[in-house]
Symmetry: C2
Subunit: 333 residues, 2 copies
DNA sequence: CTGAAAGCGCTTACAG
DNA sequence: CTGAAAGCGCTTACAG
């Protein structure tokens, strides 16, 4: 119940000045102090159960050992994986992630960004980027260290860690055509997001010329269902659908059922992400696996690099994806 | 790129002392300053785009406006809901949640707890409690404000927010017996957790005397599958299973398939939690719905209460649950 | 190798 | 109603 011990308490118990105690206690400076003295300080700290006050340290060093993480919504199963990747990579360096959900709302994102700034985060990991993102531009103007993860901006203002979507789409399309499908379609993600356009572009390049592409408003099952209805109305002969992501695939699956089309017998379906539980659907979903945990971990490492050595040339990382074949795909009849 | 403005900059621009600027800027103390002066300060702050430094404020007020949140694993779909509930309830008060994953490892939990303490969180929300939890005891001894959420300890050292598990189990069992089932069984959660024993106890009270209960080692599909195998080996005549949670139900469902038992025709199955996507399984899972978002929000509010008025009598909250009937249950044949 | 001092950016009794 | 001062708990040039 009493106040936790301060460095002054440790110094007094060890019989040294608190500056000396500080040096002894810090990895980086402990070499500056006599070994025997250092030992006394460490003992004193242990006896008092001393825990340095991170708030005070932040104020004096002007670094909070904290990074802001902007995600759309923790409740979307992709992001917990990314966040754990981030935390697992940050942990060993003593950094803590401060999470903020934007709900895909730019105003909310801006507000969260500001409160994170007022908490003096050392940098940001942004998983909410739109292709033209005023927040990202602002961060760049203010010279704040940032790494983009999962989604990118058109203008590459910062290092980015994404999956190799183009290759993933090519693999999916190749698998479908290899099965003998000729009438493919793509239910593409929102055009305001890099993942939406990159996957759509890759689809156009690898699928038979003229294969239909229908945009979804959002990465949601509802948007996917709406798009699937439009697609099937206009192109009833489609035998295989590549969805912009798994949520869209879920919506499409529901529409197939609605219309009495069997999957995969009548229409094959491929998702994107390999999110949790899609292997438990009926049929189990064939999808492109994205290593979200690694995405987060790589992004965190890149940010840590920036923080350690500002001004170093910033890498950009594209992680390989692979197709996971399950039950929602088959040769056309 | 230049340093962000401080309150001294604001004060200078407004032509007042920084103490006055501080008073004007803070809700609670703005009444102490002349209205016109206050207006000048606010204008100056706006012109400079002044954002108070939360770190400096924390050091001087000895409050960080930050709470530590201990969860087992963000990757388990229950917890993002709880966490969002917490964040949504904390937000309006200006508090930020600091998340820590314990992976159900007591040592990790202790380490996380300590680093959160060193960041001077004002209190904790603990979703990782075991029935006998040394960490909870320690928090209590140190007089730190804590609210337990989802799981409780045997010794009620702190306010707790949980679902009304007993009622939920009673509803599930009642529904099953109402359908005509007489040979029920329970695959119970880990006995080290309150949810495990509370649900098992309620099952014993509401199910026909002698109905078998098999413990699972963990709330996982693997543990659920193992337990289901043991159950079916010893009690092949069972016609309805109540699982300790949805993950256990998933494991059980898999074992039913393994053994060529149809669900719900041969065996009815009920889960617990109503986690995301269980409505998309085949068959869609009948389960007891737990309002995880509200659980988190209520717990956060209780903690905020404690923080506002320390020493107030602490409430304990038990939220009502309801059975969601879907396709995994039917009358016995 | 160690100490004395200043400073990080706020807040808050204490005077007036 | 406002200012001057002290203090929160650290770190880090600067001397010696």
């Amino acid at each position: 119940m009493d106040k936790p011990p301060t460095i002054a308490d440790v110094a007094k118990l060890a019989g040294v000045h608190k500056a000396t105690a500080s040096r002894a206690l810090n990895q980086r400076t402990s070499g500056q102090v006599n070994a025997a003295t250092a030992r006394r300080v460490l003992q004193a700290a242990k006896r008092l159960n001393y825990q340095p006050n991170a708030v005070a340290r932040s104020l004096s060093t002007n670094r909070s050992a904290t990074v802001g993480v902007l995600i759309p919504d923790l409740t979307n199963p992709l992001f917990p994986l990314i966040v754990r990747g981030i935390e697992d990579a940050l942990g060993p360096s003593g950094y803590t992630a401060l999470l903020a959900n934007t709900d895909n709302d730019p105003d909310r994102a801006e507000a969260r960004f500001d409160t994170l700034l007022s908490r003096r985060v050392d940098g940001f990991l942004i998983a909410t980027a739109r292709r033209e993102d005023p927040l990202v531009v602002r961060a760049h103007e203010q010279g704040i260290p940032v790494v983009l993860v999962n989604r990118s901006t058109d203008d590459p203002l910062f290092p980015v860690v994404t999956g190799d979507d183009a290759a993933g789409v090519a693999a999916a399309v190749g698998y479908l055509t290899g099965l003998g499908h000729e009438r493919l379609a793509h239910l593409s993600g929102p055009p305001a997001m890099s993942t939406g356009v990159v996957r759509a572009r890759a689809f156009r390049q690898s699928a038979p010329a003229g294969s239909p592409v229908v945009d979804c408003d959002a990465y949601s099952d509802d948007a996917g269902a709406a798009a699937a209805r439009r697609l099937l109305d206009e192109h009833p002969g489609v035998t295989a659908i590549l969805a912009g992501n798994d949520m869209i695939a879920l919506g499409a699956l529901q529409v197939l059922r609605e219309r009495g089309l069997r999957c995969p017998e009548d229409v094959s379906l491929i998702g994107f992400n390999d999110m949790r539980f899609v292997d438990q659907l009926v049929p189990p979903l064939t999808t492109v696996h994205v290593p979200h945990h690694r995405l987060g971990a790589e992004a965190a490492r890149l940010l840590l690099d920036q923080l350690d050595r500002p001004g170093e040339p910033a890498k950009t990382v594209s992680l390989p994806l692979h197709l996971v074949v399950r039950g929602s795909t088959a040769a056309p009849r």
